[in-house]
Symmetry: D3
Subunit: 271 residues, 6 copies
């Protein structure tokens, strides 16, 4: 059950409204690296977590709820970049070909569909997609998904930081980057509480997997090549359950398809 306060989690100011930056900010709202993804991901993970992992459920609920507020922060940043122009600036823009060109970099739908507002879409106007959310029902897999989500999320935020000179926008992004630092760390901390989780899923009895190829690096180079002596071709495996080796891809498995049923009319010729 959720509650809200009208205040933002962090102040948002914009000195120089920039419609093109408003478009780029959409990537952090509805993009695959954005806040809608992480908010929903942590909430769906929480709702799937059973009693015996109660502490992780709480952890996920706390952070999922925080991320909802990040969508709000960014939506506010978008409207402030799209709308805050003075009437004077607007008139200039209308009369100025140069400005019109600059506006060609805008997102048309932020105007046409949303009346100078934020939308649940990415920087190309692609709508948010529920399949961005990873909630696998396995805690270790989910934690790796969360570390990855915060890694690409922080990467996006730093790239946005590079593309603006507005002090208000830089300040907001520095806050969001900091939260991503924390979230990367907290998911890694959660991973450390697990007991020998790799390979994921750990509960699958590993003796049932193929024992010949489970620690073999397989070269697919056209011509056979030497073991390059890399940390992934020799030595103990990272999970501590095997020894890396180096092999060439090779098999004589027959690549065939049986004939389909006549009722699907696969025959290209007249009967």
């Amino acid at each position: 059950m959720f509650f809200h306060e009208p205040e933002l989690q962090y102040e948002v100011t914009v000195e120089e409204p920039d419609p093109q930056f408003a478009k780029e900010l959409q990537q952090a709202i509805g993009g695959v690296e954005g806040e809608m993804r992480v908010a929903l991901q942590y909430l769906f993970q929480a709702w799937a977590t059973p009693k015996e992992h109660e502490e992780y459920r709480k952890l996920l609920m706390e952070t999922g709820t925080e991320e909802l507020g990040h969508i709000e922060i960014l939506a506010t940043a978008v409207t402030k970049n799209l709308r805050n122009a003075t009437d004077e600036e607007r008139e200039d823009a209308a009369q100025d070909d140069m400005m019109r060109m600059m506006m060609s970099g805008q997102s048309p739908r932020q105007i046409l569909s949303a009346g100078e507002s934020a939308m649940p879409v990415d920087s190309n106007g692609l709508p948010f997609n529920g399949n961005y959310v990873v909630a696998s029902g396995n805690l270790a897999a989910d934690m790796y998904a969360n570390v990855m989500a915060e890694s690409t999320g922080r990467l996006l935020a730093t790239r946005l930081w590079e593309r603006t000179d507005d002090p208000g926008m830089k300040d907001m992004l520095e806050y969001l980057i900091a939260r991503d630092t924390m979230h990367q760390n907290q998911w890694l901390a959660a991973l450390e509480t697990l007991d020998d989780p790799v390979p994921v899923p750990a509960s699958f009895p590993q003796e049932k997997e193929n024992q010949e190829f489970n620690y073999a690096f397989m070269s697919t180079h056209r011509e056979e090549r030497e073991d390059p002596d890399m940390p992934w071709t020799q030595g103990e495996s990272v999970d501590g359950h095997g020894e890396f080796s180096f092999v060439q891809q090779n098999s004589d498995g027959k690549g065939t398809a049986p004939s389909p049923d006549s009722s699907v009319y696969s025959d290209p010729n007249r009967e």
Copy 2:
């Protein structure tokens, strides 16, 4: 540049064709956890890797190329589950309401669109989507994405393994599970070769991020609660660059939207 051999990377046999399992196998072809995702992900990551990281480029190319062969293995498994029924069985099926019901679990498009063949779609018939592919241009982020991809991929393979009794299918899945074990390990080994990569991206100067909230666990519980003393609320952070703390979400950032331009006709009333 790619080359092929007509043989499969691993033998595929099916004793009892099972059209419903053919549908479930599609998840491992075109699903978000499937082989198309990892094949394309590793290849696009490789193509983005510059000279100074040549060894990683090779690693990615080798494995991306291997994964192309996994799509082929699974496509073969699908046709064998859809087509290998004897004519006798087919006639029975046609006459048997029970069988017809069983067939209601099939994917209609595997018959209607593909004539009893595999498709680049998931187990619900949802087409593969290029946005499943993560290739961020940052090696550490990519390696975490790869660990995650192999975690959800291995999880899927073990769940499929539980849902079939066919010895050929079990054997094939035990091979694919083993390869996922190796791939999880190799991406973790690659992560270990990096120098202090967390928080990702490490090259962003961390002193520029907000220093008040970058290691603070933020509680969004409606009523303030005590620090639960978890590994993510106190002690040294996992990246070794900070100290975890526990705070309540709190701010007085003003949540407002400026007024939009009159040209977008936001006013609900007649002027």
Copy 3:
């Protein structure tokens, strides 16, 4: 800024777990008529609402936040329908062809991708799509979108109510149906506070639209037909700004396309 409590907004009980109903419930989570749509729709509308419409912003924030809790209720209902089977029942099911057939109606991804959990997808496994959200930047258009959303939402809930005999599920749906009744009423009440909002957008100067065809019902029947004397072909228009009439579709606008530039190679013949 958002906060949560671990309790649900309404109790969820399931007496007889039903995996097929779990799949149908997904429509009310991630479907076009579902709770993700309304939650995000009301929040994005709120975030776009400027100061001069503060009361509507509050109204939208209150209800958007409530809807987040409805996703949670339904996600809980899904896990309870997928998981609550006793071990005994599970063993039976495994041995029973009949049960296996019944299971063919399940959603494969709820098992394969989510480990018996809810997902941000609809009843066909189609992922939630950000374009389901309507937040137009015009309050009257948004209110009509909200009435419509609650109408299709309540319709969906009543159809789900018909498809279950489980008393817990019926009770939960009766609660959700009641909330949809309220929400339909509150958006209609908001519409009534507006001053002459039709045609939407009211602020566009109506004298600028074409005055010949703005209140004419246009028949596209192949053969000319008589005015059927319906409430939309004669009498005062609903908005009170015109008089309905009945006309036949007719025009001699030239239907042509200019020749494209030679650089797009439209010519089908050799030059």
Copy 4:
């Protein structure tokens, strides 16, 4: 069964071809607010309407068929904005960096995929999506969906009208805006012919819904607040079946997920 005439429903002229406007017009063709949506929506609604509602079926068929002609009008407008440049202008453009920049606002696919033609996509190149169409099988829900569709459609047309100075384009849009005025009115007129349709669906026996919360405005504000005395918190409800009240969100429903079956390998630890 459909028939065509080669003439357009309304004349389309373009004085100054404008490739960027051609891109924006796509929103009115294949966008969520566009003509493909309404044409298909009304036709699918018509085809679902049974004999006992014959008059509504006719109404829907007449207008759905008209809307097909609006797609045609807009497609013509797009080709005229993309193609009508004189050869002289084209040469200039090629030599002129300034023009090249201006062209950066074009849609690449209108050139690359369609050879300077219209496409069934929106202004970002996002393809039309069948889920934009609402045809719920309930007439009242459908009529609200239609009012909403014509509201966002007219809003889009007025915004496009603001973004062009071309007299031909303005004239065409003034026609389309007028038709949207009519269509809003006709769907509202159809709603008025229904007998007490709210809450939708009216045929669900309302005594079965939860009687405690069906007319209660629920505040989700973190701190309890006073009834703001708004038209949606007190007084008779709009449907006339209840009395609005104001309550705080509150419940002690247990938020839990049962443990999943061991066959989905949810356990993150080794067994």
Copy 5:
């Protein structure tokens, strides 16, 4: 400009309503091989066709308009398969587990979202996608796209014909199959009127393409193999402009990516 008659282009009768067949018929409405694709494809091609190809524009308009009526035929077939059950049958079904199982093969959204109606989606509930439509702006390319569309469309119709025993449904499909026969033939006839159209686009000056590899079959077999003496490895090319040859894939093009700008933070290590 379009007109309609209330009659169907071809009579639709259903003797035994079959909800599972109703789901499969959706593939022929909103699927990639369906009638929405061809209707829109021919209309968009027509609208892009300039004066100098007027006869083709007429051809496309005539057939595109016909295909709109095929959507209508199929939508009628769907409602008749979903709705025509007598009340008696319905009661039986409700009491009968066997029937309930059979219903597990239905499309949930045809009930939940559409109230037993047709939808603009395919047999998996995937919404129609505007990118199924090919309208390239080049007549020869379009004609090949049309032959292909009618080939996969007729293939789909024959497979549906195999999956029903209902005489009414067989009769309807035999009509649609016949129309696809005609349409394949008419697009091939249109191709024959073109002057030397291959390779498409013919108007590109062929001497500008690479002259070494434009008629060479390239083997990508891992080990070099002999020319298999197939009609595509030797003899005159089909377009009559070259001579087929057989070569091995081979090159020493350098596969590299330059280093990205530091502002995208690609460096995985701390600076």
Copy 6:
């Protein structure tokens, strides 16, 4: 089973990096006319081809594998257009409003999501979609799909060729155009080896289709018109199995929908 060599199939050089062209090149990677489509299309077709058509399977595998290398070529071209700017140029760009405007034509996600790399998306950032792939299970239908794919592919390549002045890019495109010439020819050659394949599928017994309308051109013009004496309205049909005729669309099939079940609450009125 696949193998790779680190060399490209064809050299890629870029003299003047052009970020806008990098965006347009994406159409040839992940667009509907792009190399991901053909690569996957030919491979899925190959995997579905049974023993009795072994030569076609080989043909498809050879070319599908080649196309994988074309994705690689284009991905390399994209990074070279995005990254090869000298540091000096970059500094200029940062200080120069003009350059910033020019950059407004870039794809934001190539920077924000991919760090100046190629992505599996089209020129609008729309992700590759598995439904672009046609693998019908019928060889003739597939061959027509392949001719069409190579036609729209070559058309795209010639349009890209027009939009660049860079000699390296022109040279690369001339190579790709040449390969498309070959591929069009080889699929046409394969079609010629088939025995009387039209209408597709040829194996459906043609006497079962409706014999009245299978060679009749049907006019949907609102007013009856004369047979225009075109090659598709008279003379022998292209497949040689019929005689073209010209008819007016006409029927009295009843356009009706039965009443839906009361459980879907279609009634708009209170009961």
